[in-house]
Protein backbone atom coordinates (compact mmCIF):
# COMPACT_ATOMS: atom_id res chain seq x y z
CA UNK A 1 0.00 0.00 0.00
CA UNK A 2 2.75 2.44 0.84
CA UNK A 3 3.44 5.25 -1.64
CA UNK A 4 0.78 3.93 -3.90
CA UNK A 5 -1.72 6.45 -5.17
CA UNK A 6 -5.10 4.93 -4.72
CA UNK A 7 -8.63 5.85 -3.89
CA UNK A 8 -11.19 3.60 -2.40
CA UNK A 9 -14.89 4.24 -2.63
CA UNK A 10 -17.76 2.93 -0.57
CA UNK A 11 -21.39 3.73 -1.06
CA UNK A 12 -24.59 3.28 0.92
CA UNK A 13 -28.05 4.26 -0.31
CA UNK A 14 -30.63 4.00 2.41
CA UNK A 15 -34.19 5.16 3.21
CA UNK A 16 -34.49 8.43 5.11
CA UNK A 17 -35.70 6.94 8.41
CA UNK A 18 -34.23 7.26 11.88
CA UNK A 19 -34.46 3.52 12.42
CA UNK A 20 -31.66 3.09 9.88
CA UNK A 21 -29.23 5.50 11.59
CA UNK A 22 -27.89 2.43 13.33
CA UNK A 23 -26.95 0.86 9.98
CA UNK A 24 -25.41 4.12 8.74
CA UNK A 25 -23.22 4.34 11.87
CA UNK A 26 -22.17 0.74 11.55
CA UNK A 27 -21.24 1.21 7.88
CA UNK A 28 -19.23 4.38 8.46
CA UNK A 29 -17.38 3.22 11.55
CA UNK A 30 -16.56 -0.18 10.03
CA UNK A 31 -15.00 1.51 6.99
CA UNK A 32 -13.15 4.00 9.19
CA UNK A 33 -11.62 1.26 11.31
CA UNK A 34 -10.86 -0.87 8.28
CA UNK A 35 -8.84 1.92 6.66
CA UNK A 36 -6.87 2.51 9.82
CA UNK A 37 -8.66 5.00 12.06
CA UNK A 38 -8.32 4.36 15.76
CA UNK A 39 -11.45 3.58 17.76
CA UNK A 40 -11.56 7.13 19.09
CA UNK A 41 -11.55 8.81 15.67
CA UNK A 42 -13.87 6.19 14.18
CA UNK A 43 -16.45 7.05 16.83
CA UNK A 44 -16.08 10.79 16.10
CA UNK A 45 -16.71 10.15 12.40
CA UNK A 46 -19.65 7.92 13.24
CA UNK A 47 -21.26 10.62 15.38
CA UNK A 48 -20.66 13.40 12.83
CA UNK A 49 -22.28 11.34 10.07
CA UNK A 50 -25.22 10.44 12.34
CA UNK A 51 -25.78 14.17 13.00
CA UNK A 52 -25.65 15.00 9.27
CA UNK A 53 -28.08 12.20 8.37
CA UNK A 54 -30.42 13.07 11.25
CA UNK A 55 -30.59 16.60 9.81
CA UNK A 56 -31.44 15.20 6.38
CA UNK A 57 -34.15 12.90 7.80
CA UNK A 58 -35.76 15.53 10.00
CA UNK A 59 -35.20 18.74 8.05
CA UNK A 60 -34.30 18.22 4.38
CA UNK A 61 -36.87 15.45 3.92
CA UNK A 62 -39.09 16.53 6.80
CA UNK A 63 -39.77 12.96 7.94
CA UNK A 64 -40.69 11.56 4.51
CA UNK A 65 -39.34 8.04 4.91
CA UNK A 66 -39.81 7.15 1.26
CA UNK A 67 -36.96 9.45 0.27
CA UNK A 68 -33.38 8.19 0.03
CA UNK A 69 -30.07 9.32 1.49
CA UNK A 70 -26.80 8.65 -0.30
CA UNK A 71 -23.66 8.22 1.74
CA UNK A 72 -20.45 8.03 -0.26
CA UNK A 73 -17.11 7.45 1.41
CA UNK A 74 -13.88 8.17 -0.36
CA UNK A 75 -10.57 7.18 1.17
CA UNK A 76 -7.49 8.79 -0.36
CA UNK A 77 -4.02 7.37 -0.23
CA UNK A 78 -1.40 8.58 0.34
CA UNK A 79 -3.29 11.71 1.35
CA UNK A 80 -4.59 9.62 4.19
CA UNK A 81 -7.98 11.15 4.51
CA UNK A 82 -11.52 9.93 4.62
CA UNK A 83 -14.27 12.03 3.06
CA UNK A 84 -17.90 11.27 3.66
CA UNK A 85 -20.35 12.91 1.29
CA UNK A 86 -24.00 12.85 2.30
CA UNK A 87 -26.44 13.74 -0.46
CA UNK A 88 -30.17 14.37 -0.41
CA UNK A 89 -32.72 15.81 -2.81
CA UNK A 90 -34.78 17.52 -0.18
CA UNK A 91 -35.29 21.02 1.09
CA UNK A 92 -32.11 23.02 1.24
CA UNK A 93 -31.04 25.78 3.55
CA UNK A 94 -28.77 28.77 3.41
CA UNK A 95 -25.34 27.58 4.50
CA UNK A 96 -24.25 31.15 5.16
CA UNK A 97 -26.81 31.21 7.94
CA UNK A 98 -25.49 27.98 9.25
CA UNK A 99 -23.22 28.88 12.07
CA UNK A 100 -22.27 27.10 15.19
CA UNK A 101 -24.62 28.22 17.93
CA UNK A 102 -23.34 30.63 20.51
CA UNK A 103 -22.74 28.01 23.16
CA UNK A 104 -22.91 30.41 26.07
CA UNK A 105 -26.27 31.72 24.97
CA UNK A 106 -27.40 28.20 24.18
CA UNK A 107 -26.50 26.94 27.62
CA UNK A 108 -28.22 29.86 29.28
CA UNK A 109 -31.39 29.33 27.33
CA UNK A 110 -31.16 25.53 27.48
CA UNK A 111 -32.75 25.17 24.12
CA UNK A 112 -33.39 21.80 22.55
CA UNK A 113 -31.86 20.81 19.24
CA UNK A 114 -29.63 22.65 16.81
CA UNK A 115 -26.49 21.06 18.15
CA UNK A 116 -25.76 18.78 15.22
CA UNK A 117 -23.77 21.26 13.16
CA UNK A 118 -21.75 22.37 16.14
CA UNK A 119 -20.89 18.73 16.85
CA UNK A 120 -19.98 18.01 13.21
CA UNK A 121 -17.59 20.96 13.21
CA UNK A 122 -16.03 19.92 16.49
CA UNK A 123 -15.57 16.29 15.51
CA UNK A 124 -14.29 16.58 11.94
CA UNK A 125 -11.27 18.29 10.34
CA UNK A 126 -13.25 19.84 7.48
CA UNK A 127 -16.93 20.36 6.77
CA UNK A 128 -18.47 21.73 3.60
CA UNK A 129 -22.03 22.39 2.52
CA UNK A 130 -23.29 22.59 -1.02
CA UNK A 131 -26.95 23.44 -1.32
CA UNK A 132 -29.13 23.31 -4.41
CA UNK A 133 -32.59 22.69 -2.99
CA UNK A 134 -34.45 19.99 -4.88
CA UNK A 135 -31.78 18.64 -7.20
CA UNK A 136 -29.05 18.08 -4.66
CA UNK A 137 -27.87 19.08 -1.21
CA UNK A 138 -24.54 17.82 -0.04
CA UNK A 139 -22.52 17.90 3.11
CA UNK A 140 -18.93 16.74 2.94
CA UNK A 141 -17.16 15.69 6.12
CA UNK A 142 -13.40 15.07 6.11
CA UNK A 143 -11.11 13.45 8.64
CA UNK A 144 -7.37 13.04 8.24
CA UNK A 145 -5.92 9.70 9.11
CA UNK A 146 -2.26 10.28 9.74
CA UNK A 147 -0.84 13.44 11.22
CA UNK A 148 -4.12 14.68 12.62
CA UNK A 149 -2.89 18.22 12.07
CA UNK A 150 -6.21 19.60 13.10
CA UNK A 151 -6.71 17.19 15.92
CA UNK A 152 -9.53 18.25 18.12
Amino acid sequence: MKNQRTKKNFHLRIPSQTEYLEIIREFVSRVARKVGFKEDDASKIELAVDEACTNVIEHAYGGDGKKMIDIAIQVDYPGQKMSIIITDQGRGFDPSKLRAPDMKKYLQEMRVGGLGVYLMQSLMDEINFEVKPGPKNQVKLVKYLMNNQKQK
Binding site: T18, E19, L21, E22, R25, S43, E46, L47, D50, E51, T54, I57, E58, M103, L107, M110, R111, V112, G113, L115, G116, Y118, L119, S122, L123
Partner: protein, 117 residues
Protein backbone atom coordinates in the same frame (compact mmCIF):
# COMPACT_ATOMS: atom_id res chain seq x y z
CA UNK B 1 -36.20 -4.26 21.21
CA UNK B 2 -34.99 -1.45 19.00
CA UNK B 3 -31.51 -1.07 20.40
CA UNK B 4 -32.47 0.91 23.47
CA UNK B 5 -33.88 -0.06 26.86
CA UNK B 6 -34.73 1.77 30.06
CA UNK B 7 -35.02 0.09 33.42
CA UNK B 8 -36.53 2.07 36.27
CA UNK B 9 -35.70 1.48 39.92
CA UNK B 10 -37.32 3.67 42.60
CA UNK B 11 -35.32 4.35 45.71
CA UNK B 12 -37.46 6.39 48.13
CA UNK B 13 -38.06 9.77 46.54
CA UNK B 14 -35.43 9.18 43.88
CA UNK B 15 -36.04 7.30 40.63
CA UNK B 16 -33.10 5.73 38.88
CA UNK B 17 -33.27 5.10 35.12
CA UNK B 18 -30.69 2.63 33.90
CA UNK B 19 -30.33 3.10 30.18
CA UNK B 20 -28.91 0.56 27.78
CA UNK B 21 -27.97 0.44 24.10
CA UNK B 22 -27.88 3.51 21.90
CA UNK B 23 -29.60 6.86 22.27
CA UNK B 24 -30.10 8.54 18.88
CA UNK B 25 -32.84 10.32 16.93
CA UNK B 26 -34.71 7.02 16.74
CA UNK B 27 -34.64 5.96 20.38
CA UNK B 28 -34.67 9.37 22.11
CA UNK B 29 -38.48 9.30 22.27
CA UNK B 30 -38.35 6.11 24.40
CA UNK B 31 -36.36 7.91 27.05
CA UNK B 32 -38.55 10.99 26.72
CA UNK B 33 -41.62 8.89 27.41
CA UNK B 34 -40.05 7.33 30.49
CA UNK B 35 -39.03 10.70 31.95
CA UNK B 36 -42.44 12.17 31.15
CA UNK B 37 -44.01 9.29 33.08
CA UNK B 38 -41.89 10.19 36.11
CA UNK B 39 -42.96 13.83 35.92
CA UNK B 40 -46.61 12.78 35.57
CA UNK B 41 -46.14 10.87 38.83
CA UNK B 42 -44.61 13.98 40.43
CA UNK B 43 -41.24 12.30 40.74
CA UNK B 44 -38.68 15.00 40.09
CA UNK B 45 -35.56 13.49 41.66
CA UNK B 46 -34.05 11.52 38.83
CA UNK B 47 -30.78 9.67 38.39
CA UNK B 48 -29.83 8.41 34.94
CA UNK B 49 -27.26 5.63 34.94
CA UNK B 50 -25.31 5.47 31.65
CA UNK B 51 -23.31 2.35 32.42
CA UNK B 52 -24.74 0.24 29.60
CA UNK B 53 -25.19 3.04 27.10
CA UNK B 54 -22.87 2.54 24.15
CA UNK B 55 -23.71 5.60 22.05
CA UNK B 56 -25.34 9.02 22.24
CA UNK B 57 -26.00 11.70 19.62
CA UNK B 58 -27.31 15.24 20.07
CA UNK B 59 -30.87 13.91 19.80
CA UNK B 60 -30.18 11.95 22.99
CA UNK B 61 -28.66 14.94 24.75
CA UNK B 62 -31.68 16.97 23.72
CA UNK B 63 -33.90 14.79 25.91
CA UNK B 64 -32.14 16.03 29.03
CA UNK B 65 -32.33 19.62 27.85
CA UNK B 66 -36.04 19.23 27.27
CA UNK B 67 -36.88 18.30 30.84
CA UNK B 68 -34.31 19.97 33.04
CA UNK B 69 -36.18 23.26 33.53
CA UNK B 70 -39.42 21.61 34.59
CA UNK B 71 -37.58 19.19 36.87
CA UNK B 72 -35.58 21.92 38.61
CA UNK B 73 -38.64 24.13 38.78
CA UNK B 74 -40.17 21.40 40.95
CA UNK B 75 -37.21 21.24 43.32
CA UNK B 76 -35.83 18.17 41.60
CA UNK B 77 -32.83 17.45 39.43
CA UNK B 78 -31.55 15.03 36.79
CA UNK B 79 -28.19 13.64 37.88
CA UNK B 80 -26.11 11.56 35.51
CA UNK B 81 -23.85 8.67 36.49
CA UNK B 82 -21.51 5.94 35.21
CA UNK B 83 -20.59 7.55 31.91
CA UNK B 84 -17.98 5.83 29.79
CA UNK B 85 -15.24 8.15 28.44
CA UNK B 86 -16.82 7.94 24.98
CA UNK B 87 -20.20 9.17 26.19
CA UNK B 88 -18.66 11.78 28.49
CA UNK B 89 -16.73 13.25 25.57
CA UNK B 90 -19.95 14.10 23.74
CA UNK B 91 -21.41 15.75 26.84
CA UNK B 92 -18.14 17.60 27.33
CA UNK B 93 -17.97 18.86 23.72
CA UNK B 94 -21.33 20.55 24.22
CA UNK B 95 -20.49 22.02 27.59
CA UNK B 96 -23.00 19.89 29.44
CA UNK B 97 -20.84 19.22 32.51
CA UNK B 98 -21.48 22.82 33.61
CA UNK B 99 -25.21 22.21 33.36
CA UNK B 100 -25.61 18.77 34.86
CA UNK B 101 -24.29 17.04 37.91
CA UNK B 102 -22.29 14.08 36.66
CA UNK B 103 -21.32 11.46 39.27
CA UNK B 104 -19.23 8.32 39.19
CA UNK B 105 -22.01 6.02 40.35
CA UNK B 106 -25.63 5.80 41.49
CA UNK B 107 -24.67 5.75 45.16
CA UNK B 108 -22.97 9.13 44.89
CA UNK B 109 -25.95 10.60 43.09
CA UNK B 110 -28.41 9.22 45.68
CA UNK B 111 -26.18 10.56 48.46
CA UNK B 112 -26.13 13.98 46.89
CA UNK B 113 -29.95 14.03 46.69
CA UNK B 114 -30.13 13.00 50.35
CA UNK B 115 -27.69 15.72 51.36
CA UNK B 116 -29.93 18.33 49.76
CA UNK B 117 -32.82 17.56 52.08
Amino acid sequence: MNGFEVMRVDNGEVSVLRIKGFLDAHTASDLEREIQRLLDQKRFKIVVNFRDLTYISSAGLGVFMGFIEEVRGNKGDIKLTNMTPKIFRVFDLLGFPTLYEIRDDEQQALQSFNNQK
